[in-house]
Symmetry: C2
Subunit: 334 residues, 2 copies
Amino acid sequence: MKKLLNDPYKYVDEMLVGMCAAHPEIYRQTGEGGRVIARAGSQRPDKVGIVSGGGSGHLPVFTGYVGHGLLDACAIGDVFASPSVEQMAEAMKVAHAGAGVLRLYGNYGGDVMNFDMAGEQLEMEEDIQSTTVLLADDVSSAPPEEGEKRRGVAGMVYAFKIAGAAAEQMRSLEEVTRIAQETADSCRSVGAALTPCTIPQAGKATFEIADDEMEMGMGIHGEPGVWRDKLKPADDIAHEMVDRLIADRAIDSGDRLSVMVNSLGATPPEELYILYRVVKKRVEELGATIVMPLVGRYATSMEMSGVSMTFCFLNQEREALLQAPARCAFWQVE
Amino acid sequence: MKKLLNDPYKYVDEMLVGMCAAHPEIYRQTGEGGRVIARAGSQRPDKVGIVSGGGSGHLPVFTGYVGHGLLDACAIGDVFASPSVEQMAEAMKVAHAGAGVLRLYGNYGGDVMNFDMAGEQLEMEEDIQSTTVLLADDVSSAPPEEGEKRRGVAGMVYAFKIAGAAAEQMRSLEEVTRIAQETADSCRSVGAALTPCTIPQAGKATFEIADDEMEMGMGIHGEPGVWRDKLKPADDIAHEMVDRLIADRAIDSGDRLSVMVNSLGATPPEELYILYRVVKKRVEELGATIVMPLVGRYATSMEMSGVSMTFCFLNQEREALLQAPARCAFWQVE
């Protein structure tokens, strides 16, 4: 395991301390064991709160997206592990400013169970109204007819951004929830892995893969994909990823969409740009327009090598919200 | 070689096409083979032009830093290889808006030779006045008494930012050059490598290192460092890096400095934040203040794993310029 760390059991806590120390104007730690990251300063009264949560090891997801026009608070677990019910409840309490809270996160069993319990608990004990929107954008994790089984991946970045902007406009919980759900429904993602990563506490790679192989459709925690074979040329991979996305939701002439070409961690931006050429060409050949392409590291698995591609279909409302100002340590939109 | 690419000989060109396609509002390609990246739109008349140049494979360095408040143009070579004299001359021509051009780049033999020739050529043929400031901030690449032999690494990001802001203020070439030189003189860096990277055209790793080893002081192209040994705990590495930096230039009580904790590529932000805890503590124990810490990927070697640390000592002038607005695809300062 080649990582810059101290005690693996302190990896998450030391990381959070460092993140908040580097950006005290954006983040603050609160909650049990400091495992809730909230926006610095106090909540704007009557703004809908947006919370997320999940395991560590995916920066900027999840905690990194706490900030203006994005999330209000985030509960964070150990690497690839759910936060506790208490931590999730604390994140919701911190985010609540009188107008209720949207829970916006990825479709993973442990997270859903804990977040639902936290929501019920707060509704009973503190009369905090809350809603849930789950991201389930990974098209290779289940067929369309079993869409509710799909995992949430980088599409959640669009949901954070678009719902976050709606909340900043002081829209109601009902409205913010509708917009988040429509954004979640408008996102499709697919990933491909080249190398695994190592969970610090486990000390070994999440999966094995030969030096000349790749796996199409693999999940960000190493969940099995749709095929494993020799590494293909970048353009072939980009074409296949586009094919898989448009097979799930067609791109029509006149569509406007944002496209994310995301590194899973180690893959450098040079390679993402090589892939982006193909995506742009394909989308434009279909008569559609790319708005605000995102090429970089938006949802990762530490030092994992690989890439994911997300299409976020826009309407006028989502496009304006996507382009509204936002600011966290990892992403600024002016 | 596990990279997402097509023909290795087209790696740089395809990467540049993709980068400009993703960010047409920031970058445009020009020059021989499209190997000059310039700011989109036309130059502001009588603004001093700032150009850089060097090999590919270091994004955001160099081309990524073309943008408002940063560089005006950049000549870019193959991976880890100097651009040609013609490409450097073209970058200078594009950047010249009547007030002369500052060449601001790292101290590497091939780059210096070509950039000097390009400068002489333009002065003779086109009467374009130009100056040079070299970054030589890597303290482990030569002892202080041989400072002119030191390599330039991540310190150049500070020089781009601070000199870029001075140029936006419409200061003269003499002033911008003075400020760039003072910034270069105020930066100290040290790096440590965990794994090599692969030059696409070579197809094999730039160096070999055992699975449990690290090398302190290694350069971003794999230049030999000061020791190689078993990987140490993160805090020990951070302390040693701080020790090496302050041995070269002491931190005095009352000093104000920016600190960069930079990933060489694959090392994730989680690990950088673990290191930052130590740096902050050490600097503050000496009675100094950290201004605008930069924790992330600012100067890389593709998928190389490792970290570098840079101190940039500030005075009032440099601090204001560091915090002035800037915008490129990889970094926004508001």
